[in-house]
Symmetry: D2
Subunit: 424 residues, 4 copies
């Protein structure tokens, strides 16, 4: 299913007067609105293929309706999202859930939908039917070289699929770790993992990056071998210039100051990208911005300031991806909410005047520094986002239009109610 230009225009026309009033107001209050609009237009968030169906927990899963059952349908879902917001022009695939059978056809479909292929994701946290060795006790860390070899080969195969599609990065989330004290020799596990990552690194094409994701816990409940940013940084440093740390917001111990981690990784030139989501307790994989939106803003404030300080391109030099699970919402609505929350945080961060903030910091004027941040955060930037969408041909109110057009019902008609997307 795709939207017609008319559908979008009719929707926008009905909202235009109110929008213009809103946008005119904010334009009068914010300096440099055009530069902000430009940045918002360029800023695209990748959608992971596994976020297009309903997720679950270890206690079970409540299915959704009309989920995409094929890789082509997943691309179509992301293409549809992109029509609504012109902000999600990339898809991130997961192997073996998304093995491309006809890469050329897929690339053509993606081009039609104006989508790029973002980072490829490997999977050594589950056993696949017919697999020679089990990952029950780890993959890249495994005590048995044969198991490590299998996991290395899988990652190299993922790179190969990515090359065919035009992706330029590999994300390795390693579930490896242990559930009980004594299970693992930490040093051996670290060194085995380093050796394995090295072999994958050697197989990277020239232009590629590899992202080493860290996670504090789950599915291993005593130790995780790439457990925090320090460990990921160690791996990335030892591997070389093409290796970076990837930050997933939900992968930290309680109360961690993620924005500081981001700033330091930028300082050390080792921040590679982001997995956006939100959480209250653990890796809850909730809709971005649904629990701690101010933290999200603070992270973006560090990103904007740190990238600008190094002359980085906001849209190309870091990988931006959502990684959430949708247990009780329509996945597409959830993703629209997530993209919106990310862009709100980004827009608010762009409102911070770096010179003023710097002056307050240099004067140790703590109250003023807080005022500067909060003034940006408290600004209602939604009309700016809407204007950026309007100019790009997307919907003023994406969720409103999604519901107005009964998109999910359409998808159910096309696909049937009980289709299930691969993934968690």
């Amino acid at each position: 299913m795709l939207l017609t230009k008319t559908q979008i225009e009719q929707h926008n026309d009905a909202l235009l007067t109110q929008h213009q009033r809103n946008f005119e107001f904010i334009s009068g209050n914010v300096a440099g609105i055009d530069a902000i609009l430009k940045k918002l237009t360029d800023f695209q968030v990748a959608i992971p293929s596994w976020a297009l169906g309903n997720g679950g927990t270890r206690f079970g899963r409540f299915g959704g309706r009309g989920e995409p059952a094929t890789l082509e349908q997943k691309l179509e879902d992301v293409g549809l999202l992109h029509q609504f917001n012109r902000s999600s022009g990339a898809i991130s695939l997961h192997i073996p859930w998304d093995i491309p059978k006809d890469a050329a056809a897929l690339k053509q479909l993606a081009a039609q939908l104006d989508l790029k292929f973002d980072a490829m994701n490997s999977n050594t946290f589950q056993d696949q039917p017919g697999q020679a060795h089990s990952y029950k006790y780890g993959s890249l860390q495994h005590v048995d070289k044969a198991v490590r070899k299998q996991a290395i080969d899988h990652n190299i195969e993922v790179i190969k699929y990515g090359e065919e599609l035009g992706s330029e990065s590999l994300t390795i989330w390693l579930a490896d770790g242990s559930c009980f004290p004594g299970q693992l020799n930490f040093r051996k596990a670290f060194n085995n993992t380093l050796e394995s990552l090295g072999e994958i690194y050697d197989a990277l094409p020239e232009s590629w990056k590899v992202f080493v994701e860290y996670k504090a816990f789950e599915p291993n409940f005593y130790s995780t071998t790439v457990g925090d940013w320090g460990q990921s940084f160690l791996f990335a440093s030892k591997l070389g210039e093409k290796a970076y740390t990837l930050v997933d917001l939900g992968h930290h111990l309680p109360n961690a100051n993620i924005e500081q981690i981001v700033a330091l990784l930028l300082n050390e030139k080792k921040l590679g990208g982001f997995h956006f989501n939100d959480s209250k307790y653990g890796d809850d994989d909730l809709t971005v911005g649904s629990i701690k939106p101010y933290q999200l803003f603070l992270i973006f404030k560090e990103l904007v300031e740190g990238m600008d300080a190094r002359g980085m391109d906001h849209t190309r030099d870091l990988g931006w991806m959502i990684d959430a699970s949708h247990n009780v919402k329509d996945p597409l609505e959830d993703l629209l909410q997530s993209v919106e929350a990310i862009r709100i945080a980004y827009a608010q961060a762009l409102l911070v005047d770096p010179a003023k903030l710097d002056a307050a910091q240099e004067a140790n004027d703590v109250a003023l520094a807080q005022e500067i941040l909060q003034a940006a955060y408290r600004t209602d930037v939604r009309p700016i986002l809407a204007e950026a969408r309007l100019r790009a041909g997307a919907a003023l109110d994406p969720i409103g239009l999604f519901r107005q057009l009964k998109v999910r019902d359409q998808l159910v008609k096309e696909r049937g109610a009980n289709t299930v997307a691969t993934g968690l």
Copy 2:
């Protein structure tokens, strides 16, 4: 030091055009703006006497300048704050730091400053010079009845001081607990505390309430005898109708859902009041709204909805107080920021349409329920707050005026640089 009417008016005049543009815009978008303005005008937050000076940590304290050295000066500081925002028309005293020597004169001063005396606070977590028994091992929980008696008598004395001043409630924050396994018999400590609270309860004047505050940890580091809302609720239930639970935002274990606790306490008719602050790690006592403003909004959403459901008066039926510590900011600026953050959350909560939210909830429309909350939260309500201040004769930009008038320098001139407020 007090502001003159002219000082405020000149300040407001300079900002009026911009304010009017802002307020006109938001008035056009928000229904029932006058009712909201009325509620904001009525809503007053009490300032604790100990928040008027700089706080510290166990590692030391970096002093401020021009702190109030007498109880009269503390009232003057709060009176001054109230001139800036017309939203902090009450002071909360702490005995023995604020023993009134001439209650009649104090009441007169308070009346001049348009201040009420909010909840009285007792102190059995420190030993005072000449005290017969030490609280090293607890007060109301103590194994020795003589120590308990001393702590009970102190609380009754605090009530007496409060009666003289026209306060109508007593807040008991009990630091009692233990630092090591085995130190305490939990059941005896609970039962001793209950007995002690009962004797204090019996001494309450007819119109008074007593608030039983809970705290997860600190200054005791293994157990706290009133450690969570469940324990406070147990005490309050057993004591009787005049006993309530008091919620301090910083007194919870990591990740606690405070808004749910608030809703349940309202449901059980046992919520008594609030200590506002913010925190990232423990009882950090940071400026309200400086870390988790969305959580603050969610709490106010429960308060508004829960109080309205029971026909409670927003301004009188719960106690609203700040309890923060100002280690690196000017205390008065910090308090202006805290009051503003509280009122922003309150105003945003008032924007939630209860009927729409209820309909979404009844339909299990999770995405829509989130949209409704976030639409309110993302609204920039600062012009509404400013308008409420303008109408009440306060400053459009309190911190701006505070700095413009060099208030702290004035206070230093009056009091000297090295005055130290009593407190932590």
Copy 3:
């Protein structure tokens, strides 16, 4: 598969000399060893039917071998365990995973294996095929009375199955809650749940208890409707004398003082029973005692002291059950380790001299109180447990014998390698 008397005796004979040396030593150091042995012999821990197979996480499951595929086989597994340690003489069933088809035959089998039927467990956190209403948005809390009715009826059906088998209690673990702010009206959810529980309570047979289990989070990631002991206690209090709180060690926020909760629930006569496991991060469901064995001891110290203070029977007046998941171990070995860890903590708690501890507490002698607890905890009580097993006809070294007899291989021979137990 069952053990023969000879198998056990041969195993014990080979270890007897060393055991006697160990037991003689500890007997000389510990007063009242016979009373302790008696208590250990009487103390039985129930095994949940779902712990007999391998568990998994939301990221997948690595299967085990020779899992019990029928309810009869589950009983046989527990019977086998009980032969090894004579300490796990009860099984706890879960409906619909363990619907008894022939209750009389099952009771006969259980009698042969010397097993009792412990608490029955209902399941309203998953949808079953053909179910009229979904629990996606809750069960006993649901906004729709028809869904609540379905969940109530299910619980009543579970009671009926339990009656047929001779069980005398129902455990209700309610996953109900919400994933996002706004999804739920907390007060309505609480009140709906109370009403639903009330209908179940009314269906309880005279001699039955109902346990209301609480959990901080998961599978809902924003709020849980029975989220902490305070909420469970509220429900249990309102329901009546047959309703109790059940404590699962993994169901708390970080750093919670569980032993204090236990002491207070005993004080209020509302502690009903336990789900034992261990955890480092969340509800990790690890082997009991594998992460925080000292906390387990402190909990048992409160249990022994609190039950003795009220004249309760250690073996009958509370429900003792394991609730763990075995992702990387043989489930039966894991359960043997868990039962051993529970009994070690219990035995150590029995070594605490209550009079001495009380004297230290009354004198505020914190260092001495700690010495008393640690002296008990540091004592190597394993020979006492072994002696209790020896006298009861069980194995001196259960895991040693389990491996010596290649039990799992036997079970695979009987059942096939790829059988899968129902459960999580």
Copy 4:
């Protein structure tokens, strides 16, 4: 006050029969007892000068009695402790609390008491009277080079004092950080700190080490500039070979896997030393082993295994120090308990057979690996520690003798009741 040989001998004689029975038993069960005794004898834990008086919290301090009022008395206290256990033969000084006036005399006194001077500690978290610049907004991170210079000079002065006394290491615990979002530019703070540490590093004598301590939070409540092991490791790596990370057990976010951090730091040759204490909530500074003794054992297991793997000397190649606060106990009794807990964990770690554990790990035999660790941990090693003390001329029961001799009363007689040790 010092103990006489006779006092110790009489005490030991009275306990000898029981001890011999205990030691004989354990000797029969443990292989290589003499090697263990040798290691225990060599293993010494440094006592920080500030742990000899009572500590407090930000809410106040309950004083002790007979605290050491001079540096000489502090040495005497540690000398006395060392007589009791022959395991605390070093003292760690803090400048400016312990500025040596006559280094030669102090060295002589230390030699008489058989004490070494362990790591020196600097203090840039408090302002001293007459100090030119305040550390309110940081020290080594400060935006003002003059403040940084003052803090650098202070550290260099501390090195100088250390050289005079024969210390060979400097511990830098940096409280620097921020209390509010926006207060700090994280990158500038990091880079300033690096530059400052570099200047201190350049002033290190040839044989010295510098330890960079990290801490998650407190006294700063939003960010800490050396906030986790990753940041400390970054600094230590950039500084050079003489710079190491120091691990304080209480300085982590909730649920952190400290033993894994230790293993990785050893793997990277950057572990420098330890501050021992225990905690339940934050940096509670409780008696070592009083809350999580199994975690302490797991840490020592990594230390022993990791040091042995690199051929390190257990006693000399890492710095071992207690860093605790004694709010409700006699500081000397508390320290005796802490040293005992450290040595118990060390002895238990020595009982782990590395070859057996390695074999279990290589076979992914998780249950067996756990059995091996728990068998060591559950062993009652107290008789081994007692034997080591007996052979070294110390007391079989240090706390027992401490109380028998009424040591605190003696100290009060010598010093007066109300002396106060410098420190927190």
